[in-house]
C-alpha cells in the first residue's frame, strides 16, 4: 500500500507534524472513529491531544476512546492503562458557541499555566456548511498561534450534493480544500469500507492511495 511506505502502521504515515487534516464521510459512517484512532496514535506516542467536540457531551466523546481502545487492546480493561488517558483532554462546545477566538480563550489559560499543552487537536462536529472560509482561516491562525502541530477535522458530506473540487473533495469542503494538507474520505464500496486519500501533501503518500477499514469496528487495517 502506498500510504504506508515507511511503516506498518498507516496512521503514523498520515499523522505527522504540521498536518491540517480532514476526514469526510456521509452521516453515520464513522468519522469520529477515525479521528479517535488518529488521536490515540498520537497519545500512545506520548503526545497530548485535545479533543474538541462540538454539540456532544464529554461522556459521549470519552466513550469513543474507551470503545476504540478496548478494541485495539483486544478487550483488555482500559483502566489498566490510565496513563495514556492523561494525554487527552476533552472540551465540548455548543454548536452555536464555537469559534476560533472562543477556543483560544479557553485554551490559552491552560497552556500558559502549563496545565495542558496539546500537540494534536481533534475538532469533531465543526459546521463547514454554516461557517465560511474566513472563519476557517481564522481558526487555522488560532491553531498556529497556540502551537498545535497536528489538527484533524471531521466534516459531513451529503449524497445529494454533487459539488466537488478538482481534487474530488466533496461539498461542503470543496472550496476550502486548499487550507488542508490531507483530506480523507470514508467510502463504503460493496462489502468493504475504504478510506480514500483525496489529498496529501506528505512526501511518500500520493493522492489516490487507499486504506481499508474493518466495517464492524471501523479500525484502520494493518498493512500486510
Amino acid at each position: 500500500m502506498e500510504a504506508t511506505q515507511n511503516t506498518e502502521n498507516p496512521l503514523h504515515a498520515l499523522n505527522i507534524n504540521q498536518t491540517m487534516g480532514l476526514v469526510m464521510a456521509r452521516a453515520g459512517l464513522g468519522k469520529t472513529a477515525i479521528l479517535v484512532q488518529l488521536a490515540l496514535d498520537c497519545m500512545l506516542m506520548g503526545n497530548k491531544v485535545l479533543h474538541v467536540s462540538i454539540g456532544e457531551t464529554v461522556d459521549k466523546a470519552k466513550s469513543w476512546y474507551d470503545d476504540i481502545l478496548s478494541l485495539l487492546s483486544d478487550g483488555e480493561k482500559v483502566s489498566q492503562i490510565p496513563e495514556i488517558m492523561r494525554n487527552r483532554m476533552i472540551m465540548t462546545f455548543k454548536e452555536t458557541g464555537f469559534s476560533g477566538i472562543k477556543l483560544e480563550e479557553r485554551l490559552k489559560d491552560l497552556i500558559e499555566q502549563d496545565i495542558f499543552q496539546p500537540r494534536c487537536m481533534i475538532i469533531d462536529g465543526y459546521d463547514f456548511a454554516d461557517n465560511g472560509r474566513d472563519a476557517l482561516v481564522e481558526l487555522r491562525d488560532v491553531l498556529n498561534r497556540l502551537g498545535l502541530r497536528q489538527v484533524w477535522f471531521s466534516a459531513v458530506c451529503h449524497r445529494d450534493d454533487g459539488r466537488q473540487s478538482a481534487l474530488g473533495v466533496p461539498s461542503p469542503c470543496h472550496d476550502v480544500d486548499d487550507i488542508f494538507n490531507t483530506v480523507l474520505l470514508i467510502n463504503p464500496a460493496g462489502d468493504t469500507m475504504r478510506l480514500d486519500v483525496l489529498k496529501c501533501d506528505i512526501q511518500g503518500v500520493k493522492p489516490g492511495a487507499l486504506l481499508t477499514l474493518d466495517p464492524s469496528t471501523m479500525l484502520i487495517q494493518k498493512t500486510a
Binding site: H51, T57, V58, A61, K62, K77, S79, P82, M85, R86, M89, I90, M91, T92, F93, K94, G97, R106, D109, L110, E112, Q113, I115, F116
Partner: protein, 694 residues
C-alpha cells in the same frame, strides 16, 4: 384506606441541595391538609420544616435521612419520600428510588441544573423512574425557568417541556399560565391555598399560544388521537393532552416541567395535579423479584392484593417509638397480627403494629396492601431485606450499594461513651449499608467507614446528639487496596517440631490476578497429596492473608490462589498446620506476583464561572487529578476530572478561596487504580515504620 391502585402514587422528591425541596414538601403537606401551619426550614419560629425531623437536619437546614409521609390530593393517595440532596447520602436517594414509582425533580430557577441534579437524574435513569420537574424559587432575583428547561434538555438529555408559563418573574411572580387548559392560575389567600382561575393576561396571550402550539406538536407524538384532533382543528379536549403527556412521561420519553415558588406559595397545587395526572401508579410499573427456589430467576410481581405477600424493607429508623422498619408492599396484603417471613435470615416474625408515617408522627392502621409504603414496629431486620408470606421464597432485586471509600478511627472518651457508641454504631450500620464499622485488631480502635467526609461527619454528630456518645475522632484514612499484577508460584513447607506434637504441611501452587471478583480459591490437587479435610484449611489460610496485604497492610483483592501440590504427615498434619502453610505460601508467592497498592479514585465535577476555569484545573492538576473534559454552560464551565480521594481532603476550602466561593463541586466513587510509584513507596515506608513501632 384507598384500595384502588390506580389512585396510589409513590413518589420521591429529589434534587440539588438548597433547591428548596423540603419547603416544597412542607407546602404539599399543608395543601393536602396533613399539617395546619407552615414552618420554614430555617424559620424564625424554631420549629423547622415537618420533614426535617432530625435535630441535626433542622440545624443545618439540609435533609439527611429520607422521611416518609403520605397525603391525599383529590382522590389520590400520595406516599412521599423526601430525599437528601448531598452526594454523600446518595444511598438514601437510591433506596428511595428503588421503592418509588415516580419522582419530582426539583430545580432552582436561578442555579438551574447543577452537578448534583445530574447525579440524581442518573440514578433515576438507572431505576427507570418516570419524573416530572418543578422549577422552584421563581420569585428569586435572576429566576429563569426557560433557561432551566433548556438545561434539562442539554445537560440531562431529557425531553423537557414546560406545561406552564410564569406570569411575572422574581418579585413580580403572581401566578402561572396552564398551557393545557389555556387559563391563568393564581394563588390567593394568606398561604396561597385559594386557587383562582382566570383568563390569560392579554399581553401574554400570543406567547402562550405559540408555546402551546410547540408543546402540542411534540406531545402529539405520543397519541394518534391527539394528532388527529390537532389536524382537524378546533378545540382540543384537555384530557387528550393529559393522556398523551402521561404516556410520554411513563415511557421516560417526556419530562413535563412545572414552575413556581414553594416559599411564596405559588404553583404547588398545580404540581400536585401533575403528580396525579402524569406520574405512574403501582400497576404502571413492572417490578421484578428473584425466585430463591428457582436459582434466583426473575419474575414480575403481580400487585394483586390476593396473592402471597412480597414486601421490601427499604429503611430502618430508631425513633421515639422504638425501631421502625419502612416497607414497600409489592403484592399481597398484610394485616396486623400476621406472621411474615424474612427471606435473608429465614426467620418468622409477627407484625404487632402497623402504621403510616407522617414524618415523625404516626397513624396506626390495621392492614396495608399492594403498592403501600408503611412502617412496621419492632421487627428485627436489615435494610434491603425482603419479607414474604410463608408460601413463597423470593427476594426483591438487590440494590446497587457502593463500597465505602473513607474511614476514620473513633475513640470513646469514657466507658459510658463506649457503651453508647456501640449502640449507635449497631443502629447506623443496620440503617445505612454504605456505613460500616469494625474493630482494628492490631490497634484495638473502632474504625468507621463511609462514602465521604460529610457522611462520616454526620454520623459522628448523630452519635453525640442522639446517643450521647462523646468520641474523639482520628484523621480520615483512605481505604487502600492491594492486588497482584502477575502470576507467581509458591511451594511452602510449614514444619515445627519443638517438643510435643509437631506441625507439618506443605502447600504448592500459584497465584494470579482475578478480575471477576475479589478472591477465588482453586483446588487442583490430584492423588490426595493434601488430604481432603485439609483443603478448606488452605483456603482459610489464604483468606486470612488477604485481610492485610504485605505492602501497606490494606486488604488484598482481585487474586486467585490455586493449589496443585503439597504433602501431609499422618501424625503431625492438622487444620492449623495447613492454615499456617497457606499463610507462608501466600507470603512466598505474593511478593513475586508484582503486588501494587490501589487507591480509590473519585469522579469530581467542578462547576463555576468560566473565568475560574484555569484556577480550577490547576487545583485538580496539583491533586494528581486527571482532567477528563470541560464543557461550557453559558457563563459557567463544568470541569470533569478523576482525582485520588486521598488528595481531596479539604478541597472545598481550597475551591472556595480559589473562586471567591463561586464554584462548587461534587464527587462520587469511580474506581480503584494503582497509586504512582512515589506514593506507593511512601505508604510502604509508613507501614513498615508502624509495624516496627508495634
Amino acid at each position: 384506606m384507598n384500595k384502588d391502585l390506580n389512585k396510589v402514587r409513590n413518589i420521591g422528591i429529589s434534587a440539588h441541595i438548597d433547591s428548596g425541596k423540603t419547603t416544597l414538601t412542607e407546602r404539599i403537606l399543608f395543601y393536602t391538609n396533613r399539617i395546619h401551619a407552615i414552618h420554614e426550614v430555617r424559620g424564625k419560629d424554631g420549629v423547622g420544616a415537618k420533614m426535617d425531623s432530625m435535630e441535626l437536619e433542622r440545624e443545618r437546614g439540609i435533609t439527611i435521612q429520607s422521611a416518609a409521609t403520605y397525603c391525599t390530593w383529590e382522590d389520590i393517595d400520595i406516599n412521599i419520600i423526601d430525599t437528601p440532596g448531598h452526594v454523600d447520602f446518595t444511598v438514601e436517594v437510591e433506596r428511595a428510588l428503588r421503592v418509588l414509582d415516580g419522582a419530582v425533580l426539583v430545580l432552582c430557577s436561578v442555579g438551574g441544573v447543577q452537578s448534583q441534579s445530574i447525579t440524581v437524574n442518573r440514578q433515576m435513569t438507572r431505576y427507570n423512574v418516570p419524573r416530572i420537574a418543578f422549577v422552584n424559587k421563581c420569585d428569586r432575583t435572576g429566576a429563569n425557568p426557560m433557561k432551566v428547561t433548556q438545561q434539562l434538555r442539554d445537560k440531562l438529555q431529557l425531553n423537557a417541556h414546560m406545561l406552564q408559563l410564569p406570569i411575572g418573574l422574581e418579585n413580580d411572580l403572581v401566578g402561572v399560565i396552564d398551557l393545557v387548559t389555556m387559563k391563568a392560575v393564581y394563588n390567593d389567600g394568606d398561604n396561597g391555598e385559594l386557587i383562582r382561575i382566570a383568563d390569560i393576561p392579554a399581553d401574554m396571550l400570543e406567547e402562550a399560544k405559540a408555546k402551546r402550539e410547540a408543546l402540542l406538536e411534540d406531545v402529539s407524538m405520543f397519541s394518534e388521537e391527539l394528532m388527529e384532533a390537532i389536524l382537524e382543528g378546533g378545540d382540543i379536549d384537555p384530557e387528550l393532552i393529559h393522556a398523551a403527556i402521561r404516556k410520554g412521561t411513563l415511557s421516560l420519553e417526556l419530562t413535563p416541567v412545572f414552575m413556581g415558588s414553594a416559599y411564596k406559595n405559588k404553583g404547588v397545587q398545580a404540581l400536585l395535579d401533575g403528580v396525579r395526572a402524569y406520574l405512574p401508579c403501582p400497576t404502571d410499573v413492572t417490578n421484578m423479584a428473584l425466585d430463591l427456589k428457582n436459582n434466583e430467576a426473575e419474575f414480575p410481581v403481580t400487585n394483586n392484593p390476593e396473592d402471597p405477600l412480597i414486601m421490601l424493607a427499604f429503611k430502618l429508623e430508631d425513633g421515639r417509638y422504638g425501631q421502625l422498619t419502612y416497607v414497600r408492599t409489592y403484592q399481597g396484603t398484610l394485616k396486623k397480627g400476621d406472621t411474615i417471613y424474612n427471606g435473608r435470615t429465614g426467620k418468622k416474625v409477627k407484625v404487632g403494629r402497623l402504621c403510616r408515617m407522617h414524618s415523625d408522627e404516626m397513624e396506626e392502621i390495621d392492614e396495608c396492601g399492594s403498592g403501600d409504603i408503611v412502617a412496621l414496629f419492632g421487627i428485627d431486620c436489615a435494610s434491603g431485606d425482603t419479607f414474604t408470606s410463608e408460601d413463597i421464597n423470593c427476594s426483591m432485586t438487590s440494590m446497587h450499594i457502593p463500597e465505602p471509600v473513607i474511614s476514620l478511627a473513633v475513640i470513646p472518651v469514657d466507658n459510658k461513651a463506649q457503651i453508647n457508641m456501640s449502640k449507635a454504631l449497631n443502629r447506623f450500620t443496620k440503617e445505612d449499608p454504605t456505613f460500616k464499622s469494625y474493630v482494628d485488631h492490631e490497634t484495638g480502635e473502632t474504625i468507621i467507614s463511609g462514602m465521604g467526609e460529610l457522611h462520616l461527619d454526620v454520623y459522628i454528630e448523630r452519635m453525640k446528639r442522639e446517643y450521647k456518645a462523646e468520641v474523639q475522632v482520628g484523621a480520615p484514612q483512605v481505604a487502600y487496596r492491594e492486588t497482584i499484577t502477575g502470576r507467581a508460584d509458591f511451594n511452602y513447607t510449614h514444619k515445627k517440631q519443638s517438643g510435643g506434637s509437631g506441625q507439618f504441611g506443605r502447600v504448592g501452587g500459584f497465584m494470579e490476578p482475578f478480575e471477576e471478583g475479589d478472591y477465588e480459591f482453586a483446588d487442583q490437587i490430584v492423588g490426595g497429596v493434601i488430604p481432603r479435610e485439609y483443603i478448606p484449611s488452605c483456603d482459610k489460610g489464604f483468606q486470612k492473608s488477604l485481610e492485610k496485604g504485605l505492602l501497606c497492610g490494606a486488604p488484598v483483592v482481585g487474586i486467585r490462589c490455586a493449589i496443585n501440590d503439597g504433602a501431609a504427615h499422618s501424625v503431625d498434619s492438622s487444620d492449623i498446620a495447613f492454615q499456617l502453610a497457606a499463610i507462608g505460601a501466600f507470603k512466598e508467592g505474593y511478593i513475586k506476583a508484582k503486588p501494587v497498592i490501589m487507591e480509590p479514585i473519585m469522579k469530581v465535577v467542578v462547576e463555576g464561572p468560566s473565568e475560574f476555569q484555569g484556577a480550577v484545573m490547576g487545583s485538580i492538576n496539583q491533586r494528581r487529578g486527571m482532567i477528563i473534559g470541560t464543557s461550557e454552560e453559558g457563563m459557567y464551565t463544568v470541569v470533569e476530572a478523576e482525582v485520588p480521594l486521598s488528595e481531596m481532603f479539604g478541597y472545598s476550602t481550597t475551591l472556595r478561596s480559589l473562586t471567591q466561593g463561586k464554584a462548587e463541586f461534587t464527587m462520587e466513587f469511580a474506581s480503584y487504580k494503582p497509586v504512582p510509584k512515589g506514593v506507593s513507596e511512601e505508604l510502604i515506608k509508613k507501614y513498615q515504620a508502624e509495624k516496627k513501632n508495634g
